[in-house]
């Protein structure tokens, strides 16, 4: 059987090139692929477009990636937070481009990319600053904004368990963006806590089918803590 397991984060990320669009899963700490983000910083690809719900917190992870100057543009729903000082400073200095997307449109645009939808009319954001310049339409008396899919070259996500084919299950609200980001990238790289034998996951309960996963790196629970 073909195994998608890789021995190291660095090996799994080796072909991410300058200028790539990279989706990063997680909402807060839940589902955040911490080790893959750290690996991306070590890897050093520049001019990246990052898709994430936020724009980094504190001085680690995504914030450190931004601080390192590797991020040209960020697409997210909620950049401004109490501890988003690194993003804030670079944004105010004109050193990083920002596309703010309502969280549900962000999720649906990622899903649309994975689902082969050309574009879709969403009610969210109609009449707001975030719809400026976008096509609008009234359908059955309700107003909508045309939204486009967001495709990525790579998705970096975290899951709870994987089998060698890349079938994934998640834990609680750590599921968040993982399943949709896995579908929207040319190459999906997942860090998991456990790797289980083929057949150990109940086919009824698999959230991300393995065909959406290209590479798996196991990060033990201890390393995550």
């Amino acid at each position: 059987m073909i195994s998608k397991l890789h021995d190291s984060v660095d090996e799994a990320l080796a072909d991410i090139r300058d200028g790539a669009t990279v989706m990063i899963g997680g909402f807060g700490q839940a589902g955040q692929p911490v080790e893959l983000i750290d690996g991306l910083i070590r890897h050093g690809a520049t001019d990246l477009t990052i898709v994430n719900n936020n724009a980094g917190n504190g001085e680690v992870g995504l914030a450190l990636l931004i601080k390192s100057g590797f991020v040209r543009k960020i697409i997210c729903s909620f950049p401004r937070q109490s501890d988003s000082q690194i993003f804030d400073a670079r944004y105010r200095a004109g050193l990083i481009e920002l596309e703010v997307v309502p969280q549900g449109n962000l999720a649906e645009r990622i899903r649309a990319a994975g689902a082969g939808i050309g574009s879709f009319f969403s009610p969210t954001g109609f009449g707001t600053l975030l719809a400026e310049g976008k096509e609008t339409r009234t359908i059955d008396g309700k107003n909508y904004v045309l939204e486009s899919p967001i495709h990525a070259d790579f998705s970096l996500i975290k899951a709870h368990q994987s089998d060698p084919m890349g079938n994934l299950v998640y834990r609680k609200t750590a599921r968040n963006f993982g399943p949709i980001m896995a579908t929207a990238a040319k190459t999906t790289i997942v860090q998991v806590t456990d790797v289980v034998d083929l057949g150990a996951l109940d086919p009824e309960n698999i959230i991300t089918p393995g065909i959406y996963v290209n590479r798996i790196v196991q990060i033990s629970q201890e390393a995550c803590a």
């Binding site: 950049p79 549900g104 999720a107 649906e108 009449g127 707001t128 968040n176």
Partner: protein
């Protein structure tokens, strides 16, 4: 029930209370107004405190947009699980009958009209029910929206909790928004420390409860809006 009560000290009439409401009392009032069996999303900040006053008999199901239905109270001590957080990124618990789903499914649930009520904070609400709660409009502000616009258009009813006036004493219930809009014609009810307002396309803004020494006339003067006095008529739920 249809007799007018003008005595502000009439404690038997919950629509006229002799003191302005504390935040806790506002939250308690919102909680009491949520119909049994409702599916509800409580926004970050003050709205979250509404959960403290929901009773088990109400059977309210809480949705958190990061991917869960059946959210329980905030987690403490050994209950804390970093994979189980709410939209404010605070550790929470899971109630029997809970379920998890990914972000696209979670916002589809919202956008598709499957939530009965969203309770949100606001900078301003207009007489048409337009909501401003995502952006101060300040020149140097970094825009950040999160799920605010999705909740505004998605929930069947949007309840706002806010102080009625700014620190400068200006009404936050206005004829037209001066802050950037979050969603148009979406707010159906506004809870403040001095009054509760229902917003309807057909009947405009109705004051359904009034607190402290506030009067309908003082609210009309403050807001500059042609308010309907609904404090003396039989209340309806106003929930669709």
């Amino acid at each position: 029930m249809s007799t007018a009560h003008t005595d502000a000290a009439d404690r038997t009439n919950p629509r006229r209370i002799d003191h302005t409401l504390t935040r806790a009392e506002m939250a308690q009032r919102v909680a009491a107004d949520i119909p049994s069996g409702s599916v509800v999303n409580l926004g970050i900040g003050i709205p979250t405190s509404v959960s403290n006053y929901l009773t088990a008999e109400q059977d309210v199901i809480l949705h958190t947009e990061n991917g869960m239905l059946g959210m329980g109270p905030e987690a403490h001590g050994e209950e804390i699980d970093n994979d189980l957080i709410n939209a404010g990124k605070i550790p929470v618990t899971e109630l029997p009958g809970a379920s998890y789903f990914h972000h696209a499914d979670s916002f589809a649930m919202m956008r598709g009209g499957h939530l009965d009520i969203a309770v949100l904070g606001a900078f301003q609400v207009s007489a048409a029910g337009d909501l401003a709660n995502w952006h101060t409009g300040a020149a140097d502000a970094i825009p950040a929206v999160g799920g605010a616009m999705d909740l505004a258009v998605g929930a069947k009813n949007v309840f706002v909790m806010m102080e009625l006036t700014t620190k400068k004493g200006e009404s936050k219930l206005v004829d037209h928004l001066t802050y950037p809009v979050t969603g148009l014609a979406c707010v159906t009810r506004v809870y403040t420390e001095v009054a509760v307002f229902d917003i309807s396309k057909t009947t405009g803004v109705t004051v359904t409860a009034i607190f402290g020494d506030t009067t309908i006339d003082s609210l009309i003067t403050l807001t500059g809006l042609p308010l309907v006095d609904g404090t003396t008529t039989t209340p309806t739920t106003g929930i669709s």
